[in-house]
Structure formats: C-alpha cells, structure tokens
C-alpha cells in the first residue's frame, strides 16, 4: 500500500488530490515556491517542502527539486496533478528510476501521446478515425499545394508538440499557406523548442468531446463516458458538461470503444482522456490523448459515481480495476464552470490580488473545488483559475437552473472574476438548448460580455443608500441617541457586551 504521496502541484488540484489521500489514510507532502508559502495546499498537507523561486521554471517545473523533496519526505509515490510536469515523460521516467511510484502512465505512453504526429499515427494504426491530414511533419514547402488538393480548404496547421492553442493557424486561402506554415513553425519553436508542424483538414462547426478512460496494470481498460467541452475561449475550456447534449447511445458506444482502443494502443495505465472532434453529422475524429487527470474530471465523478483520484491511486498501487465496463452508466447531468480571476468586461484581463470575502454556494447538487480563502493573495505567477463550480441535476434543465442559482450565490470580492460572464452563458439560448459548438463564445461574444442589468433602479438606489449609511457612520455623522444600536462592526459590539479588555 502507498503510505505517503508527494503532490507535485499547487492550487485547487493539489488540494483536491490531498483530500482523497486524507480519505484513504495516506499522508500528503506539498511542495511550494516562494509565492506559495501561504497557499492552501501547503496548509492542507501533512508536510511541506520549499522548492524555489516563484516562477514555475524555477520551482514546480524543476524535476530535481521535486525529487529532492520526495526523498527528504520519504514519500512512496508522486502525483503530478495537471499542468506543470504532469505530461513530462522525463519526469515520469526519473520518478520511477529513483524508486518512486509515479501516479500516471509510463514514459512511453506519455511521449507517444505527447507528440501529436506520433499520436495520430498510433490512433490510425489502431483503426481509430483521425482528422484527415498529413501523417508526417511538413519538412519543406514544395508539397503543400498537393496536400491542400487532397483535403480541400480550409486547413489547420498544427504544431506537433502543441498545446494551449499555440502553433496553430487556420488557412482559408491557398495564397496564405506558405506564410502560415512559417508562422506556425516559428511560434512552435519559441513555445516548445520544436518546430515540427503538420496539416489537418478543418472541421467546421466542430464539437470538442472527450472520453475519460481508466486502465489498470493488467490490461483492463474501461471508459467512463464523455464530457462535452465545446464552450471554449481561445482554445481554453470554460464550461464542460456530461452527458454531451449531442451524444446518442450508439455514438457513445462507438466513441467509447475508440477511446479504449487508443489507450490500449499505448499500453496505457491510470486515468487518461481521449479527445475527439465531432462534426454536425456525428462523424468523430481522434484529436489527442491527455495522459493525466483533466481539470474537468469532477463532472465524470458526479454522473458516474467514481472518485477518479482514488482510482488513480489504486491503479498505481497495482490493484486491478474495481469496475467493469458494464458497471458504468451515467446518472443525471453535471456541468462545471471554471471560475477565473479575470475581468470579463476588460478583455478578460487577469486580476490577481487579495481575496476580501468569499461566499460559496452550497446545498443540493453543488460541489466547489477551489483553493483561495479570505485573506489569501492570489499570486501573479500561475494560472488564473481559482475555483471550479460543479452542479448536478437529474435532467440537463435542472442542472442549468441549479448552476444559475449557484452562480447567483457565489460571491468573491477583492478580485474580479468570470462569474458574470458564466451567468451570461447560462442565459444564452443556444447553450440552454444544448445546440452549440466550439464557435459558441465567438458567436455570442457581444452579449456574453455585457454587464448584468437585472439590478434595476431601486436596487441601484439601495447601493447608494448603503454607501450613504456606511460613510455617514464612518465619519460619525449619526449622533442621535439611537447611535448605540448602530453596529457597523459585529465584533466590536460583541466585544463591548462581553466586556473584553483590549490592549
């Protein structure tokens, strides 16, 4: 059995992993950079090791520092979370070489799926449909027009080492092709240190749908159904839901089988995600495989009823899968909204800063996975995602109603957040109808970035009155005999009544 796990990550995912460890009676080890001394994962863990300066390339991305902390703490296993070193084949190899259980797949699986050209080739060999395109790196510009003739325009140029929307170019006219390839190559080189690019046919109005898979060390692989992830802004997911409104039982079975095949093709172990593009005619194409836990894993946990981190740990400990494919079914509908510290009304500008006050939604069908607390200052160095809000309802409509209620209750002050933007999405017709694709945000941007006006004239005046009252109290302008009952500060009043002597 695994007794102690080092979590090589920060933020909500580090806390989320540690919560499951605590439930399993496993000790937890945090690592932290200078900016993260007060971060919740440090406070939540049983142990914490300092690993360097705030920029992640001087701390969370330095393999030696992570392994050093693992040795010092005598951890038996390392969980990489998502991001940072989670899809770094070298890290997985080093962990294992130095005697730690790496909670994730083999280096081989990671590197095969990490390079998109190899991944495409692997999927094709396994008989999984891929987006039509080149199966090799584009080495020179001579064959370009031939390629375009084969697939038709528009096409996408993509970096083989790609991720985060970098090294991608859409080409609509043949005359732009050469310059787009050059631009993509140069961007890929500066982002990933690798300028390999390939060309894919452009799928119009695509849905981004992914399948969660679980695979143990004994060759058992199952899928845990799909997540619809088409609500994206600049290739970053904003909202995910399960089931997908587009899905049919037949398509689910076919895509699930393809996902399992993809995992088997790389002898996958652990939790992973196979991403597909699906067009309006329900044709699906393998896109890539993420060889780690996803941000959006909680919606699968909710509709399937499985703790994915617990499953990861069991698999890493060498236990066979607890579930068979026939045990898996979706119950109800789950939606996740990602809450970012950013100002949706000022071009989504990140807004790090001090959290003054938080009220989180609770009650039936609500889960929050966050890491900020009152008095915490969000550092400027890392991802702006501060929380995930996951709701469940028996039907999709119930889940949307509950999400609206939860967003209404969710109050974070001190920093700007994406909550108003998310509220607007919940009120957009095509989202409500479940008829949207990856163009959704772009197509509706104008209405989505409109500040709410539901407050009305009286409500606006109430804000004015509150400010009037607060200011008058502050400057001690309320001098009537009734003054003693004004209690601008509950603590003070309490202090008085309890006759607390203060310094």
């Amino acid at each position: 059995m695994i007794k102690k796990i080092l979590v090589a990550n920060r933020g909500e995912i580090a806390v989320r992993v540690m919560r499951t460890c605590r439930e399993m009676g496993i000790s937890t080890v945090a690592v932290y950079s200078e900016a993260d001394r007060k971060s919740l994962h440090v406070r939540y863990a049983d142990e914490a090791y300092f690993i360097g300066n705030s920029p992640s390339n001087e701390s969370y991305l330095v393999i030696d520092k992570i392994l050093d902390a693992a040795r010092k703490s005598k951890a038996s296993a390392i969980h990489p979370g998502y991001g940072f070193l989670s899809e770094n084949a070298e890290f997985a190899r080093r962990c294992r070489k130095e005697g730690f259980i790496f909670i994730g797949p083999s280096s081989h699986s990671i590197s095969t799926m990490g390079d998109k050209i190899t991944a495409r080739q692997t999927a094709m060999n396994a008989g999984i449909p891929v987006v039509p395109g080149t199966n090799r790196e584009i080495l020179n510009e001579k064959g370009l027009s031939g390629i375009v003739k084969e697939f038709g325009l528009p096409v996408m140029i993509k970096a083989s080492a790609g991720g985060g929307g970098k090294g991608i170019r859409l080409v609509k006219n043949e005359k732009d092709l050469k310059s787009a390839v050059r631009a993509a190559k140069s961007e890929a080189m500066s982002a990933f240190g690798d300028d390999s690019v390939y060309i894919e046919k452009y799928i119009s109005s695509p849905h981004h749908i992914e399948f969660q898979i679980l695979a143990d060390k004994f060759g058992n692989v199952i899928h845990l159904c799909e997540r619809e992830c088409s609500v994206q802004r600049r290739h970053q997911k904003i909202i995910e839901e399960s089931p997908s409104p587009l899905m049919t039982p037949g398509l689910r079975e076919k895509m699930g089988e393809a996902a399992v095949k993809a995992a088997k093709a790389v002898e996958y172990e652990g939790a992973g995600t196979v991403e597909f593009l699906v067009d309006e005619d329900l044709n699906f194409y393998f896109l890539e495989m993420n060889t780690r836990l996803q941000v959006e894993h909680p919606i699968t946990e909710r509709v399937i009823g499985v703790d994915l981190v617990k499953a990861q740990i069991h698999i890493a400990a060498g236990e066979p899968l607890m579930y068979k494919q026939s045990d898996i079914c979706q119950l109800g509908h789950a939606i996740e909204c990602r809450i970012y510290a950013e100002d949706p009304f000022r071009n989504f500008m990140p807004d790090p800063g001090l959290i003054r006050h938080i009220t989180e939604p609770t009650g039936l069908g609500i889960r929050t996975d966050g890491y900020v607390y009152e008095g915490y200052e969000i550092p400027i160095f890392y991802d702006p995602m501060i929380s995930k809000l996951i709701v469940w309802g028996i039907r999709r409509g119930d889940a949307i109603d509950r999400m609206k209620r939860a967003l209404y209750e969710y109050k974070i002050s001190g920093v700007k957040t994406s909550i108003p933007f998310l509220k607007n999405i919940m009120n957009t017709r095509s989202f409500i109808d479940g008829k949207y694709n990856t163009h959704f945000i772009e197509d509706n941007l104008e209405t989505l970035i409109k500040p709410g006006t539901e407050c009305g004239a009286t409500c606006e005046d109430m804000s004015v009155i509150a400010a009037f009252f607060d200011y008058m109290t502050k400057i001690k302008m309320f001098q009537s005999p009734a003054q003693s009952v004004i209690t601008p500060d509950g603590w003070k009043e309490y202090g008085k009544r309890k006759s607390i002597t203060r310094l």
Partner: protein, 189 residues
C-alpha cells in the same frame, strides 16, 4: 410617491445643526443627491434625488448590508477601493463603482485630471505582473505603436506600445521585476 415637494420634509431627529445631512454620491455615470430625512435605530428615511425611501438597514458581517425596503430584501456588499470615499458595491445581480463626492473629492478629481494630462507619457500596466522583457533603451527614439515592454500575469503576456512618436526618457523597472497595477514602467517625452 416621490415628487419634488417631498424634499421639504422636516428632519425628524434633533441633529446637531453643524451636521452634514446630505451627500452627493456618484454611481456609474450618475450623480445622486442623497438627503437624510430621519433615522431611528436601523430605520432610515432618505431622499435619493427626488425619490423617498424608508428602509431598514443592518450591517450583517463581511462588509455586507441587509436592506429591507417595502418588504423587499436587498444585500449590498461594500468594499472600500482607493480611499474611504470610494466603494465597490456588489449586489446579488450587479457591481457598481461608487464615490462619495464632496469639496475635497471634487478638488482631487480636477487635480487628477490635470495630472493625467501631464502624465500621459507614462507607460504602465493596468494589472499587477512581472516584467518579462524591456524592448527599448533609455534615450531611444520610438515610433507610435512600437512595443516598449512586455508584462506577464497568470500565464498571460501583455505588450505595451508607445502611444506616439517619442523618446524614452526613463525606464523605471528591470526585467524580472514584480510591478503593481498602474505603476509607472517607462517614461516617454
């Protein structure tokens, strides 16, 4: 309800005659005149422009006021922003910037306006972040639109360009520095 004659209503509590009983409060682009009519414990009667409101207002912790008006329940969270006269007000539905306006704030406003004219040659970032790259050097001649500095925050990089043809008078930061929102980074002339 409402109507201008309401303004004449008497202040029902005996206030010190030197006391301020009205304030100008700016909310969004609107300047609201708020006048105290009476106050008895948590029961407050005020005029906001020409509308009279009788409310029950209670502070409930966390900087939040609970207000009952004609049996409707409102929650307003007030957060002081740049000084004690500036608030961000969060209601369940909307967020407002609010400013108490008096002689002092009006003076400061005018002064800031004057300042901002004089300082339009300062390049700064509206968000806190880390200086990734400085693209210019002191004394360099710039053309309008030329990138001067790149600042990153939370994995997003922003480029700040020169608003005009200018000369770099001073560079106030170096690469790797952590900067606050609106801190001067580069001075042009």
């Amino acid at each position: 309800m409402g109507g201008k004659n309401m303004v004449k209503e008497k202040v029902s509590l005996a206030y010190n005659s030197f006391q301020m009983t009205s304030l100008d409060i700016k909310i969004k682009d609107r300047l609201a005149k708020v006048k105290l009519i009476s106050k008895d414990k948590s029961k407050l009667t005020v005029m906001v422009d020409n509308k009279k409101y009788e409310v029950d207002i209670e502070k409930v912790g966390g900087g939040i006021y609970s207000i009952l008006h004609k049996n409707h329940s409102y929650n307003v969270e007030l957060i002081e922003t740049k000084d004690s006269k500036s608030y961000q007000a969060n209601t369940f539905y909307q967020t407002f910037d609010i400013e108490i306006q008096d002689a002092e704030t009006r003076y400061m406003h005018n002064r800031n306006k004057a300042d901002s004219l004089g300082t339009s040659k300062v390049i700064s970032s509206p968000m806190p972040g880390r200086v990734v790259k400085i693209m210019v050097s002191k004394g360099e001649k710039l053309t309008a639109g030329q990138t001067t500095i790149i600042v990153s925050a939370m994995k997003m990089e922003s480029e700040y360009k020169s608003p005009m043809d200018a000369v770099v008078k001073d560079i106030m930061v170096k690469e790797g520095d952590i900067v606050s929102a609106n801190q001067p980074l580069i001075i042009l002339e």
